[in-house]
């Protein structure tokens, strides 16, 4: 069976005045039908650049230098900009962190949904498009769609705007919805509503979701599988329960440990010392070596290979090598 989406050995570079940023350094992952994959990781670790390459939305100075992005077997990495235009919005849609920047402030929201339909659904009549737009507005949980159709984004609350962004993204029944920090700019009570909505919609319209987030609570809430990024690489991928309960990589362990727990009250939090590596000059060995509590000589010299832990659980760490068994814990 071929996978819905399969990313293989993807490598992305960004040229800047000061040198080349190795933003994504050989990542591989897949996404199955109706699955939700969460990507987590430190700021600057390459999460947004990874999904932007899938969308063909890399900045002008950015380039895929290696690897493939297979959507049902077709390699998007080889697509021209024109081919990508027909993929975006119809096969794959993306929503961004700040709902205000993804909406046009000068256009009523109904029209913004209709515009997407005009681009991808030439078979629809004007009336059908309007009807579909109204249906989408109510699908994302906004009441009184007729009245809302004619409103401008600034007349809506932040949470409602993000619902509209989702409606626009879902207009053409995409196979894959990519959400880059969709709730980071929202309050927790609104975040809970949006997560609920995404879960609900996934069941109703059977899309697959890739969600990028910093928040491990959000991961636990919505993800089926999780990919952890660090220094431009995927350091661990696992089912959500394995990631939380059978954590394999020292960075993931550190991340989970730094969340305050009731038992931490009155004592220090378990912080990860130091800062993430500079992707202009990534370290030659393990990217986490400078901050890891388990660093060995080999870690600084050679990049660890992607190793299988159990089932589909993978991690990139020398501790998983047979020869390091005794050092694991």
């Amino acid at each position: 069976m071929s996978r819905l989406l399969e990313v293989n050995q993807l490598r992305v570079q960004i040229e800047t005045q000061h040198g080349t940023v190795q933003a994504v350094r050989g990542i591989s992952f897949h996404l199955d039908e109706q699955e939700t994959l969460a990507i987590v990781g430190e700021s600057g670790s390459g999460k947004s650049i990874s999904v932007k390459s899938i969308m063909g939305l890399l900045p002008k100075n950015g380039k895929i230098v290696e690897g493939s992005i297979l959507l049902e077997g077709k390699d998007l990495a080889k697509y021209s900009e024109r081919q990508m235009q027909s993929v975006r919005g119809s096969d794959i849609s993306m929503i961004f962190q700040d709902p205000m920047t993804s909406l046009n402030p000068t256009m009523i929201i109904g029209k913004q949904i209709v515009e997407v339909l005009k681009e991808h659904r030439r078979d629809m009549t004007k009336a059908q498009m309007k009807e579909r737009a109204l249906e989408l507005i109510s699908l994302v949980g906004i009441s009184n769609p007729e009245a809302r159709f004619d409103q401008y984004p600034h007349q809506l609350s932040g949470g409602m705007r993000q619902r509209v962004v989702i409606a626009v993204a879902l207009a053409c029944d995409p196979r894959i919805l990519i959400a880059d920090e969709p709730t980071t700019a929202l309050d927790v009570t609104i975040q809970a509503q949006i997560l609920d909505l995404m879960r609900d919609l996934q069941k109703k319209i059977k899309t697959s979701i890739i969600i990028i987030t910093h928040n491990l609570g959000v991961v636990a809430n919505i993800a089926d599988r999780v990919a952890v990024m660090y220094g431009g690489q995927l350091v661990e991928t696992a089912d959500v329960r394995d990631l939380f309960y059978e954590t394999a990589h020292p960075y993931t362990k550190g991340l989970l440990a730094s969340i305050p727990k009731a038992s931490d009250k009155g004592s220090d939090l378990t912080a990860i010392p130091g800062t993430p590596p500079d992707l202009m000059e990534p370290p030659k060995g393990c990217p986490f070596a400078a901050r890891c509590t388990k660093t060995m000589e080999v870690c600084r010299q050679y990049p660890p290979k992607d190793m299988l832990c159990r089932g589909t659980h993978r991690a990139r760490c020398w501790l998983l090598d047979e020869r390091a068994k005794a050092l694991r814990e």
Binding site: D196, A220, L255, D268
Partner: protein, 323 residues
């Protein structure tokens, strides 16, 4: 815990801060808040964005002139009758750390001068003494001497926040308002900054007002927590009680909305889902401000504004039905 007979370091009484907006309209960013802060304690302040947390902090620290109400620090009321020197002394004792470590540091100044700015204004140290003090402060916050001659853009977010903390500490303050000091940082770096703040508090007997929207961090660092909604304080109690036994319906909804980083717990939880979003703060009706979203609202709530009352010793809530 803070005992009742202890004298407060800071007393805020009926504080109001209104902003004029548009034509003849006012935005009541802070509506009648009273509270005490005791020496050495951390009071957390939580609530949704726009509920007035920053405005409250900025008014307390005299960055904004209060519309009404009094602020008493160590028994002295801070108002216009103070001499210039007394006012100066207050601004030294109270410092603020800001949310955005990027925006709050002058990009054209070297870290040395950023940190020394307050010392210079208060004329505390000069020359070699000044340099020595800056290096000492850098070390206190986990940076080092070689960082002194760098510019803010050469630092990571966590490091910039450390510079902001060093700047606040430079004038030996007693009371620091931390306005979302970790919101812009990665989870792994957040823990570093929180540990640093706690360590400094112990060493220097500092008092904190800690504003944040990440409730798990607030719970960790705070002795007591206040919950704000649309400019009002709706619940105030010690942090364990707030999490274990919240009595205000808004607090209950807020706590239930936080996603818990544990998939098994998260999947079996029952959430209180709030309908709608915050009403427009300019057009607010009479009665309880939460009535439009509250699952328990009744006629009384829409007519009368609930006052803050002590439901249990040290546990305050503003709800007609809170028991």
């Amino acid at each position: 815990m803070m005992s009742a007979e202890k004298k407060p370091l800071l007393e805020v009484k009926h504080l109001k801060k209104y902003f004029p907006v548009g034509k003849n309209q006012t935005l009541k960013a802070v509506r009648d808040i009273s509270l005490n802060l005791y020496k050495g304690e951390t009071l957390g302040l939580v609530g949704e964005s726009g509920c007035g947390k920053s405005t409250f902090g900025r008014t307390v620290i005299q960055l904004y002139e209060p519309t009404e109400g009094t602020i008493i620090y160590e028994g002295r009321e801070i108002n216009n009758s103070l001499s210039k020197a007394e006012r100066h002394e207050f601004t030294r004792k109270m410092q603020m750390i800001f949310q955005d470590p990027y925006a709050s540091l002058n990009p054209r100044m070297k870290v040395m001068d950023i940190i020394a700015e307050g010392m210079d204004a208060h004329g505390v140290y000069k020359g070699q003494e000044r340099k020595k003090k800056v290096i000492e402060l850098l070390e206190t916050v986990g940076l080092s001497e070689e960082h002194a001659n760098r510019f803010p853009h050469e630092f990571s977010g966590g490091q910039r926040q450390r510079v902001g903390i060093a700047r606040a500490l430079a004038v030996d303050p007693e009371f620091i308002i931390c306005d979302e000091p970790i919101s812009a940082l990665d989870v792994s770096i957040q823990a570093q900054v929180i540990n640093l703040l706690k360590e400094l508090q112990k060493k220097r007997d500092l008092t904190y007002l800690f504003i944040a929207h990440d409730l798990s961090m607030v719970k960790h660092i705070s002795d007591r927590i206040g919950v704000m909604y649309l400019g009002s304080m709706v619940e105030l109690t010690d942090s364990e009680t707030l999490f274990d036994d919240p009595v205000h319906p808004y607090t209950q909804a807020l706590l239930s909305a936080i996603p818990i980083p544990d998939p098994d717990v998260e999947k079996s939880r029952n959430r209180i889902m709030l309908e709608g979003s915050l009403p427009d703060p300019i057009r607010l009706s009479e009665g309880c401000l939460f009535a439009g979203r509250c699952p328990y609202a009744e006629d009384l709530c829409r007519k009368n504004t609930p006052e803050m009352k002590e439901v249990r010793p040290g546990h305050f809530a503003a709800c007609h039905k809170a028991k």
